[in-house]
């Protein structure tokens, strides 16, 4: 179906289901309950899940397939954002041209940086990309202030009058898709539960589904095989009449364009951009996402992006008072002791928790969360096969 084999098609269906039902899945706790702070089903965060999912999917096409570790991918995200916001400021408030502009600008930028960086491999390649990204950050932060808005970045201002718009005097333009406002939401209340369906989220989710589909096609194409060949053995590749450089460059540009797509979408959802989007920690984050979820797997980067964004937004909101509430049932001394122990790992300390999880994954699950899932499935299967099946049906229902 759609040129995918059965296994990939099932995975694709699962991803469609998860993204389309995300407002329900991410809001499992009733509003107003003590657990409601773990709900992630609000538009801003859901948008981040899918947008950074796209970013990580693209990064994985380069890192997962060719093994080239780019440490400056946030530069493409940032450049894409700047391209998109200028499109909105000058031409139209419709998000589609803005997103396309973001993709094109990042693609051209990636072509230039990739052409130079790919002269080296391994650690030197990583350092080159890091250097380029930091240079881009520095340029955006100060030198190119007229274009980038410097430290404060760019927003849509009341004075902006895009060519294709009919704004009234002093009205601030809002991002839309043929008149559909990105920020409009529909609230559904079922009993104590509240679910939000946001236009911007669904547009971003559809783009992510398309991006995910494209990445499956690339993974399963002869081109994808060649990229894995680059990772596996460049010597053999050269002596098999294949030129590795254009393959790696193509992968680099494709993955830069994915980053630009994510950058464009960020602007479409929230019409502003600042240079910190290109800072090296942002480049590091996408590396973490990909490795955490499982590099060179299809779904891994999306899971990694989801986990990191969830922790960044949910874990960081837990404060001391909430901890005291949780442990309130314990005697005072123990309560204070537990709060003191847990406190460094929450709130601003969420990076500490992330670091521990990351270390645990790298040491015990080098294949990332996807490998964890696989091992769990194998474990379940083995348990099942240990107890002798009483009839045929028990045997024909493996936990796939």
């Amino acid at each position: 179906m759609f040129g995918l084999n059965k296994k990939d098609f099932n995975l694709f269906l699962i991803v469609i289901a998860l993204t389309m039902l995300a407002p329900f899945i991410l809001n499992p706790f009733p509003a107003g309950s003590g657990m409601a702070q773990f709900n992630a089903g609000y538009p801003d965060l859901m948008q981040r899940f899918v947008i950074f999912g796209i970013f990580a999917i693209g990064f994985n096409i380069l890192f997962g397939l060719t093994g080239y570790l780019s440490f400056g991918h946030a530069a493409f995200l940032g450049v894409g954002s700047y391209g998109a916001i200028w499109m909105m400021k000058l031409v139209t408030l419709n998000v589609i041209p803005a997103i396309i502009m973001g993709v094109i600008v990042s693609g051209v930028f990636a072509l230039a940086i990739g052409f130079i960086s790919l002269r080296r491999s391994g650690i030197y390649f990583s350092i080159l990309t890091l250097a380029f990204a930091q240079m881009s950050y520095a340029l955006a932060y100060s030198v190119l202030t007229p274009i980038t808005g410097g430290e404060t970045g760019l927003q849509i201002k009341p004075t902006d009058r895009p060519i294709f718009s009919n704004l009234e005097e002093g009205e601030i333009g809002r991002a839309n898709l043929f008149g559909l406002d990105m920020r409009s939401s529909y609230e559904l209340e079922v009993g104590n539960w509240a679910f939000t369906f946001n236009t911007g989220y669904y547009i971003a989710a559809i783009v992510m589904i398309l991006a995910f589909y494209l990445s499956i096609r690339i993974f399963r194409s002869p081109f994808g095989t060649m990229l894995r060949a680059v990772k596996s053995n460049q010597t053999r590749m050269n002596y098999t009449g294949l030129n590795a450089r254009p393959y790696t460059l193509a992968a680099f540009v494709i993955s830069g364009m994915y980053a630009g797509l994510a950058g464009g979408l960020l602007v479409a959802m929230d019409t502003q951009v600042g240079p910190e989007r290109m800072f090296w920690t942002a480049s590091g984050e996408v590396v973490l996402m990909t490795i955490l979820g499982g590099a060179s797997t299809l779904i891994g980067p999306v899971l990694g992006a989801g986990l990191i964004k969830y922790m960044e937004n949910i874990l960081s909101k837990i404060n001391k008072d909430i901890l005291h509430q949780w442990f309130a049932f314990l005697p005072d001394g123990i309560e204070d002791f537990l709060v003191t122990i847990v406190y460094p790992f929450i709130g601003k300390g969420w990076h500490l928790t992330l670091g521990i999880i990351f270390m645990a994954v790298v040491i015990f699950l080098p294949g990332g969360l996807v490998e964890g899932g696989k091992r769990f499935m194998d474990f379940v299967k083995r348990k099942k096969s240990k107890t002798p099946p009483s009839d045929e049906s028990a045997q024909s229902t493996p936990a796939e």
């Binding site: 399963r220 194409s221 002869p222 081109f223 060649m226 053999r236 050269n238 002596y239 098999t240 009449g241």
Partner: protein, 251 residues
Amino acid sequence: MAILEVKNVNKRFGGLQALGDVNLSVEENSVHAIIGPNGAGKSTLLNCLVGKLTPDTGSVMFDGQSVLGRKPYEINQMGISRVFQTPEIFGDLTVMENMMIPIFAKRDGAFRMHAIESTANEKGVIEQAESMLEDMSMIDKQHMHAAAMSRGDKRRLEIGMCLAQEPRLLLLDEPTAGMARADTNNTIDLLKQISDERNITIAIIEHDMHVVFSLAQRITVLAQGTPLVEDTPDKIKGHPKVREAYLGESA
């Protein structure tokens, strides 16, 4: 007719004259062995043929065209395939994928952006790869990861991958180094079969005299970067200079 013509090739590494005035000509559809003691310049010569090194002076002509200044992948596309001392294969890929890659390279050239087509739909390439795997009698291993195979199987796969490109000249760098006797004999049989059945010239660098004398029609003896003699195996065996420089020590 000579398919490969090496003329007056010199190569220096600092103060070391690795190759001095090497002349060599390999006849089409023959098996030509290059032997010599350690440090004789065999590998340097081979690297000059495939584009890994460029000679300081001299010329290397393949089928009437110079290979000098071309990159390894360009020389390979001209029709020279190389088998390495330690098998160079795509270890992370399956045996089937390993075999498909050279067939893609043959069909599509050094680069082609076929990113949307599905590999599973490349029926022609899959068929060719299957038939080559059958020839190498490793079709039953097609779904294995190449890195998980034995040394002998890796060697077979590498040779198969080179053959899949239908090269005109196959270069082998000590193809039986570090192999058990049985694997060595298998490799000899395979190479004999290739030179009998396919339209391929073979040039082989080898230490193992057993391999050299069971395969080669002509032998060049290299010593200290210079060809000592070039002749048929029978004459080489009895040649006093060769005995002194090489066989005298090891045989």
